[in-house]
């Protein structure tokens, strides 16, 4: 693994989370275009992030909680059961 690979792996989370500077983004992108092994790692880690989001977004608030919140602003708040 070359220096560029190591540097890319260090920046990978920041890249996936869109936390890098424009210059760093360009650098990572250029390396991923050139280096299939790093690109595969990137694709996998990005998919893991999507997976966590997708799996956890299936739990919506129960209807009674939603209704309780809606009424909070219009009525005197009272403990709900």
């Amino acid at each position: 693994m070359g220096d560029h690979c190591e540097q890319t792996m260090r920046n990978l989370s920041g890249y996936i989370d869109r936390e890098l500077s424009d210059a760093d983004v360009r650098q990572v992108k250029a390396h991923l275009d050139d280096c299939p092994p790093c690109d595969k790692v990137f694709e996998f880690q990005a998919e893991m992030k999507r997976l966590v989001r997708k799996e956890c977004c299936t739990d919506d608030a129960p209807a009674r909680l939603r209704e309780w919140v809606r009424q909070l602003a219009t009525e005197k708040p009272k403990p709900a059961g």
């Binding site: 989370s13 936390e19 998919e47 893991m48 956890c56 739990d59 909680l65 919140v69 909070l72």
Partner: protein
């Protein structure tokens, strides 16, 4: 000055699903969200219009949650100590799986890694779990998470890194449990 409370109402699903990951129990999650909204309502005049109301609500909720934990202290985890590197991808590669020929979706489906994400997440130590939930599920920036939890950005990054690795390790362990497993693809 009073804020339009409907601005806050729309985040009830986000707060609830995160509360569920933190408390692991629907009734506790519901209770946590209610207390969060009661406080948000009580202190609504402290919210600065035009700032991020979702981050404000999550700050309240994580504070309420941590106060509750303090009343029932759990054993302290060495959460900020460096851990061993772990990634599912490297592990599969080491096992000789042709991961370079597979799409990430194929890898995940093939070994059933997607089935127990919630369960794995709920087993992470709470400080790591909070950071992973806030970044990966709620899409907050590192800076926002640092502000919500009152920790440094460097701490956000290290907990996120270690939390994601720990999550993959849990998923790896679960996937090794005996169960009906499809034949590996890529062998043709």
């Amino acid at each position: 000055m009073s804020s339009d409370f409907s601005l806050f109402e729309r985040h009830v699903d986000a707060l609830y699903r995160s509360a569920l990951r933190l408390t692991r129990k629907p009734e506790d999650a519901e209770d946590l969200v209610q207390e969060t909204y009661l406080r948000a309502y009580r202190y609504r005049n402290r919210f600065k219009p035009g700032t991020n109301e979702k981050a404000w609500l999550f700050t309240i909720m994580t504070n309420v949650f941590r106060n509750r934990l303090r009343q029932r202290p759990a054993p302290e985890d060495p959460i900020d100590a460096p851990g061993t590197d772990f990634s599912i991808y490297d592990q599969l590669r080491r096992e000789g799986m042709p991961v370079h020929l597979m799409s990430p979706e194929e890898i995940i489906v093939d070994r059933g890694f997607g089935d127990e994400v919630k369960h794995a997440l709920e087993e992470l130590p709470i400080p790591m779990r909070m950071v992973v939930v806030l970044v990966d599920v709620e899409d907050f920036s590192y800076k926002e998470v640092a502000s919500i939890l009152g920790i440094k950005i460097g701490t956000v990054m290290s907990r996120l890194h270690r939390g994601r690795q720990a999550l993959q390790k849990k998923l790896w362990e679960y996937s090794g449990r005996p169960k009906a497993r499809p034949v590996a693809v890529g062998a043709h």
